[in-house]
Amino acid sequence: MPTFFPHLGQTQTNAPADFLSARQAGLRESKASALIEIEIDATRQMVLLFAHGEQVGAFVVDNAQARPVVIHELPPAWVAAKKSYRLAILPDVAARLAWLACESQQRNALTLSGPEAWTRQLNLWRDARFAGLAQVSSASEQAFAYFQNGRPVKQDTIFSNADGFSSSLPEQWHEKDIQVVTYEINPASVANQCLQLRQSTRRWSNAVLKSYRNIAGQKLLQVMNHDVMLHIRPRQWNIQVEEEGILDEHFFPAVAQQAQAYQTVLLACNQQMSFAIGDYLTRRILIEMFDELSRDERSTLENHRLIPASISA
């Protein structure tokens, strides 16, 4: 029984021995983010996750609980055996949320029966200011969402059905028998470090751009965003600078790479802001908005040298 995005990809049974390596090579070539599920037995499967063609993790999923394994340590006979494989090409957000789920511990699992129960659940999360990762699945739909203050976070939410993917949770879940799993995120996991850095950068950039918009106006903010996007375009990151801040929909397999990308984007923003309102005011905005972040957010950013001094230097 597939766990992640079950309605996607085609399952190949009795695959040839070189099936896996051929698919891995294909993903590397196309730089696609994807997952490959390999059936081990009736209750267990292996999940391989890829970020832009590079494998970022291998997990054995046993009764919806994932644990990491090192794939090259698997017995060659096992790898070579004719297994049932499923390859699903995913948007970056979907792949990295699957990665986060695999690196987290299952906390709660419940079954909801129908649309009303789903709406009730959303309200419950909202009232309880739920924070964490939730996986919602039904027969042909699945969603992953990272919640903060009881609301799904825009850049870490994905909903998938036969029509494709969308980045918001549906208010109405039309299918019955909805399985909801919430996860306890492992703070030390790389997936979580990437998530925290993403969130902190989003919050900081949001506050900075809001201040800049106040001084320079909406139109100059749009000019800036446009120029920054042109600047980072050759990098082919799924990162956008929008009015609410940096929207990162790229699957970075390592937090250092992610921090480097943010540094580039923030430096470009800083430069554009300096053109309009000068170095001093730009630096002041960066510092004041950084100081308004929570201690955890500041420390996350500081750990990766995403600080006003390094951006406005």
Binding site: I89, P91, A216, Q218, D227, R233, Q236, N238, D279
Partner: protein, 293 residues
């Protein structure tokens, strides 16, 4: 390695601005020539004066027009709209003052002006709107310290009024303006005092904005402050302490600084406006497609 973003100014804009810059340099050179050598006095002094007035009117119109154009780029609910719209209104009042100068010169060609004229009203309203726009600008960049700023603003106005009062009293005691009404002398003194104060505020903005193009329109006020500081110096009797050659040079410098005030602000409005215009036809940007899209 840090990469650097190219300057946002597009090639077309640069060409556009280069022409505006050349025109400004030519206008300034022409002004200096007419002011210093008075070539049109061969026709009459009046003609020479009018040529100078026309050369001053051109950049004042440009400043008011481009200031208004800049303000129109913003939504009325946005804070920068208030700043630039108020600033542009101030410039239009000064354009009105310059134009009324032509009217009064024509009417009173062979006599002196009345003590108080409509020109004074237009200058005063110009100062009023400049003051308000400066207040809005400081308020915007002093996030969260607005109460203190309002107090400072009113304090500055009070000090400027008091200083103008003190200078008026001193002028009368020194025997200056004996045949003129007290209010007229007070208003005459108030202009350069306001100019100096607004120039000081603009100087502060110069340091805050640095070379940022949204701070440059204020630089014009610094030029006016310089021009009027020299005027105050002369008025206080400074012209008696320096040689005639130094006086001529300072006088020319002061008049050119006054003209430059308009030119600097006009060019700065043009640069900022062009930057905003560039959004009208941006290069198409398409986000990289995601896998699975």
């Amino acid at each position: 390695m840090k990469s650097s973003i190219a300057s946002p100014t597009r090639a077309n804009d640069q060409l556009h601005l280069r022409w505006a810059m050349y025109a400004s340099i030519m206008l300034t050179a022409l002004f200096i020539w007419v002011y210093h050598y008075e070539p049109f006095t061969q026709i009459s002094e009046y003609v020479n004066d009018k040529v100078l007035d026309i050369l001053t009117l051109i950049p004042s119109l440009a400043a008011a027009y481009w200031g208004t154009k800049l303000a129109r780029h913003f939504n009325q609910a946005e804070p920068p709209y208030r700043i630039w719209n108020t600033f542009a209104i101030g410039w239009w009042f000064w354009v009105g003052g310059e134009l009324l100068g032509f009217v009064y010169d024509a009417i009173y060609r062979n006599s002196s002006y009345p003590e108080l004229t409509l020109i004074d009203l237009f200058w005063a309203l110009g100062y009023f709107f400049f003051g308000i726009s400066l207040y809005y600008q400081f308020k915007l960049i002093n996030f969260g310290k607005q109460r203190r700023l309002s107090l400072l603003y009113f304090l500055f106005i009070a000090i400027a009024l008091a200083l103008a009062y003190a200078l008026t009293q001193w002028a009368f005691n020194a025997g200056l303006g004996a045949d003129t009404a007290w209010l007229v002398v007070y208003i005459s003194i108030l202009y350069p005092v306001f100019d100096t104060f607004q120039g000081g505020a603009a100087l502060r903005l110069f340091f805050l904005f640095g070379r940022g193009y949204l701070g440059r329109p204020w630089w014009g006020l610094i030029a006016f402050a310089i021009a009027d500081s020299i005027y105050i110096f002369f008025w206080l009797g400074g012209d008696q302490w320096i040689s005639p050659q130094a006086y001529t040079l300072l006088d020319l410098f002061s008049s050119t600084a006054y003209l430059s005030g308009y030119i600097i602000s006009a060019l700065a409005f043009l640069v900022a406006g062009d930057r905003l215009d560039s959004l009208s036809a941006p290069q198409a940007y398409h986000a990289p497609a995601q896998a699975g899209d």
